[in-house]
Amino acid sequence: MNGADAIVKCLELENVEYVFGYPGVAICPFYNSILNAANIKTVLVRHEQHAGHAASGYARLTGKVGVVAVTSGPGATNVITGIATAYADSIPLVVITGQVDSRLMGSDVFQEADISGACESFVKYSYIVRNAEDIPRIVKEAFYIASTGRKGPVLIDFPIDIQNQKVNKFEYPDSVSMPSYKPTVKGNTKQIDKVVRELKKAKRPLICTGGGAHLSGAANVIRAFAEKHRIPVVSTMMGLGTMPTEHPMFFGMVGNNGQAYGNRAMNQADMILMAGARVADRSIARPDEISMNKILVHIDVDPAEIGKNAGPTIPLVGDLKNVFTELDKEDIRPATQEWLDCLAGYRKEAEEAKKAKADLVITPGTVDPTHFIHALSDAMDKNAVYVADVGQNQLWSCANCIIREGRFFTTGGMGCMGYSVPAAMGAKLAEPDRQVVAVCGDGAFQMCMMELGTMRQYNVPVKIAVIRNNVLGLVRQYQHFTYKDRFSVIDLTGSPELEAIAAAYGMKFLYLNDEAKMDETIKAFLENDESVLLQCDVDPNEVA
């Protein structure tokens, strides 16, 4: 057994199902050994960045750790964006990078990059394997670190000579002993009691869920808690899906791209339970002012997040699932009927305003993107996975996508264009029986369209809707408002014919530019479990 065999054996013992990656000489011993692993499937992506995104999609749907393996130098540097995206969104990944011979490290040889140094800001932890005997411990720790506490990517840099080094004794540890890493999972009882006391007194309590709700597997617990204790819920972009969109106690997404009624709920609440959310700038415009007229309870597994952007009245460090299970044991039930009625009134107002907009004239030859996303998500399977990219499509998706029992993925933390197609691919590989739809703009699609080859090669039938306006819509929108229509470098003229792209990859192609044909096109888009590319033309003047 050599080092590469050992690491593959470790991956088998961690029940790794897929390794997303791109080989090169420095990782060849690993890819040689992986041929012997009967239960691990490899996926050759067309760009290393997408290996990170695909593993992210896989990890988000399964709750398991996504695994990536790429070569040294450019392979490793290409994967940085994937790692950084996973870090910003707290997605558990283990990224294995090949490295040049350890005796040559630091001498700038061919395809050498100091990847652990380069990734320092984007990883939860990184290892450089110096001795093959350490591999079992390192891999065990890497999976443990990635998947516990606040989840995130862990990098293992693996020099080629160590991959080839003989391993005399392979013993995979049962547990991890890391005195310096002990995440707090259980909420402090005194703090929980304080929250309960305040909740009982609250007249206008509100739960605001973030991505942590999904990461800790607490969505169902929070939903049940909100229903039982009659506390309304709003979400940040990453928290969407904690409550079904049509749930009477859900009041939309908050933030500068959220629903007005969600933000009104935040402003008027007298107590907010911020659950697994960072209180970041896009969700809360003035984080420092949020607790001025209310009791702010910040619940997060990462102590450093509490108080970083907003000083909470009651800080509560712990895993959301654990904390809400504890809270649920108490008989809280504040009198919230009046508050719920008030919020329902706000929502009704907003829906009526939206209906009024629906009657506006739509530019001929285009469709209204909000209508399209609403209709598309309405027609999707109940448990479908909707992956939104970044840009106007993301904002339209957040505001109009109907989530029932399915999931909504987007990169709310890093905002990395080109995320949707590879992430959808990872999700579809994780659960082949589930409907997976990626929605992206024509800018983002061109950042990841090479992955259509991967989808075809591994028969991953993802449905891709490209909202096309031939411009970088969100930048154009920003320049429209901020620079008074002084548009700069947003024109996507020269983009390929999507029909030809679909044909080149053997995909079914659909075209939608007429609202009257929306329902039938969406039906055709979703009807079979096959890869489909749908082009949906929208007016470039549309704002999100």
């Binding site: 652990s116 320092e120 310096s180 890493y181 990462d302 102590p303 970083k308």
Partner: protein, 195 residues
């Protein structure tokens, strides 16, 4: 507001980079940093002095605790710590100004009880571990005596609580003579002298 962070970390390569990178990335300032092995050679001790408001100080502590290579973080107010600065001063002279320089330095050496070392014919060294207030006083005096300019500073602290940590400490002040009329001046950080 200054705060002292006494950080126990795993003694392995890359840890200093990880800790200092954290300060850089999150725009925290490092006033001074000293690192050395503890009596347990698997553990190193870092003493970091940083300036910032309460929020920054809290974040520094939390972010340090978040680092997996960080074993323990203790923080101190300046008043709670024993602070010493080791000064190492290199004084250069020529045949023409030798007398003036030596006379001036002898006064300083006498007042401050410096150790004086001469390793070369055209320069000698002062070495002294001083309380910070004395360092400030010394610099004031030196300014007057030697028409000093800018003094590079770095502080080093020994933290109490019954545990003595060893430090590797590097600091120097370079003093060069200009002319017999202007016997010497501090050059602006012209090359640190390593102790």
């Amino acid at each position: 507001m200054k705060r002292i962070y006494n950080v126990l970390v795993k003694n392995q390569s890359g840890v200093l980079c990880k800790v200092s990178g954290l300060f850089w990335r999150r725009c925290f300032n490092i006033d001074s940093l000293a690192v050395g092995e503890t009596e347990d050679n698997a553990i190193s001790n870092m003493t970091i002095v940083s300036t910032g408001d309460d929020h920054t100080q809290e974040q520094i502590e939390k972010q340090l605790n978040k680092k997996i290579d960080v074993i323990k973080v203790k923080t101190f107010d300046e008043k709670e710590a024993v602070c010493r600065e080791l000064m190492l001063i290199k004084v250069k002279y020529t045949r023409d100004n030798r007398r003036d320089i030596i006379d001036n330095c002898a006064v300083i050496s006498c007042v401050f009880h410096f150790d004086q070392h001469q390793f070369a014919a055209d320069r000698f060294f002062f070495v002294k571990s001083l309380d910070l207030d004395y360092v400030n006083l010394f610099i004031q005096l030196f300014f007057n005596l030697l028409l000093g300019m800018v003094v590079p500073r770095a502080h080093n602290r020994h933290i109490g609580n019954g545990v003595v940590f060893r430090f590797a400490y590097r600091q120097g002040i370079n003093v060069e003579a200009a002319s017999p009329e202007q016997p010497g001046y501090f050059t602006e950080n012209t090359g640190l002298v390593f102790y």
